[in-house]
């Protein structure tokens, strides 16, 4: 982001940026940055809190008159992620005992996912064919977790991280529909990886691919840094 600030300022555009990693902001020496000690992924701080977001923007825009660049100012409020407190989110009961528990679980969340998709008017399940492909992806990851190479499980190696992100988006969007508030940062993620069958499958798939010495780019995205077994 700092590179863009340098390019834009030289072209005649004034810039102000929001920083989430202070050391990178210091090293990049962008002209005007507001550093926020907010969760990664939430540079405006609080979703669905317009007043808070305006305070962040006002603090950023207040740097524009500064000519003593580079300027790096800290926003006075902090927000921490709550990964240690997984979202309390009720999972649907088993409906098809003959199927793998992860596949059954994913199918049971489809209605919640669709409610959130309709409410938001958008979805992050957009890499490998949309929500219709989620059951197939979950089956593939169960096979990979059991030791099958990606191709035998029905995925090209380069599709593995994309499929993982699709499954994660499906679960996190479903979770939003199952609670009556916007979760704190990483609560939905921790619910997925620490409370669900699919989370266990993704961790198992990551472990199996790593043990089989597949390139890091194939498996590293399946489980975020800091989640179980990382």
């Amino acid at each position: 982001m700092s590179a863009l600030a340098h390019v834009f300022e030289r072209a005649g555009l004034a810039t102000v940026g929001i920083s989430l990693v202070r050391g990178q902001a210091e090293d990049g020496r962008a002209p005007r940055l507001l550093h926020v000690d907010f969760p990664l992924g939430r540079p405006l701080g609080r979703p669905s809190d317009p007043d808070f977001q305006h305070r962040v923007l006002d603090a950023a825009f207040a740097l524009l008159p500064r000519a003593d660049v580079p300027v790096l100012v800290d926003f006075p409020e902090s927000i921490v992620d709550e990964s240690d407190g997984p979202l309390a989110c009720t999972l649907p009961p088993r409906s098809d005992p003959s199927s793998h528990p992860a596949v059954d679980e994913a199918a049971g969340l489809r209605a919640a996912y669709e409610r959130q998709r309709a409410a938001a008017g958008r979805t992050g399940v957009a890499r490998l064919g949309g929500p219709e492909r989620i059951p197939e992806l979950v089956v593939a990851f169960t096979r990979i977790a059991d030791g099958a190479p990606p191709e035998e499980a029905g995925l090209a190696p380069e599709e593995v991280p994309l499929g993982g992100l699709d499954v994660r988006a499906y679960y996190e969007e479903a979770a939003l529909a199952l609670v009556d508030h916007v979760p704190a940062a990483r609560q939905a993620e921790s619910w997925l990886y620490r409370r669900t069958e699919v989370g266990r499958v993704l961790v198992g798939a990551r472990d199996a691919l790593r043990a089989a010495e597949h390139p890091r780019r194939v498996w590293s995205v399946l489980v975020p840094v800091g989640q179980p077994g990382e």
Partner: protein
Amino acid sequence: MIDRGIRDRYEHIDTFDHGDPAATVAPPLAEARVAIVTTAGLRPDGVGAWADGQGYVVLDGPARDLTLAHASANFDRSGVAADLNVVHPADRLAEAAADGRIGSVAPRHLAFMGAQLDHTLTTLRLDTGPSAARLLLDDGVDVVLLTPV
């Protein structure tokens, strides 16, 4: 608190030396046209995988059906899923313009993807970045708000 460990890991990474920063003087904010340029890898085409390298995509001002195509797993994604404004505060800019706190909102915003593996960012510095600047200047933009994810 996973973010603390990730920040420690990535606090200092290889960074291109851009030299002393230039500083363009903006007009008064109440007269300025503001655009958002995010490095969150947002896309307007429903495609959830970023395939544009150090390039950028254009986000029409009214568009809200944007997809987070950033490749990293290591940040919270539920915030963006719940409220796009947490990375792309287009609604907040519209409110600021209506209140007269900024002059106007640009007709188009832009998205790049951060976390590029090539820290020299040669294509961005010499090609796509200047191209993006020209697009914004053609739209009468005075101020760019840069947001990460």
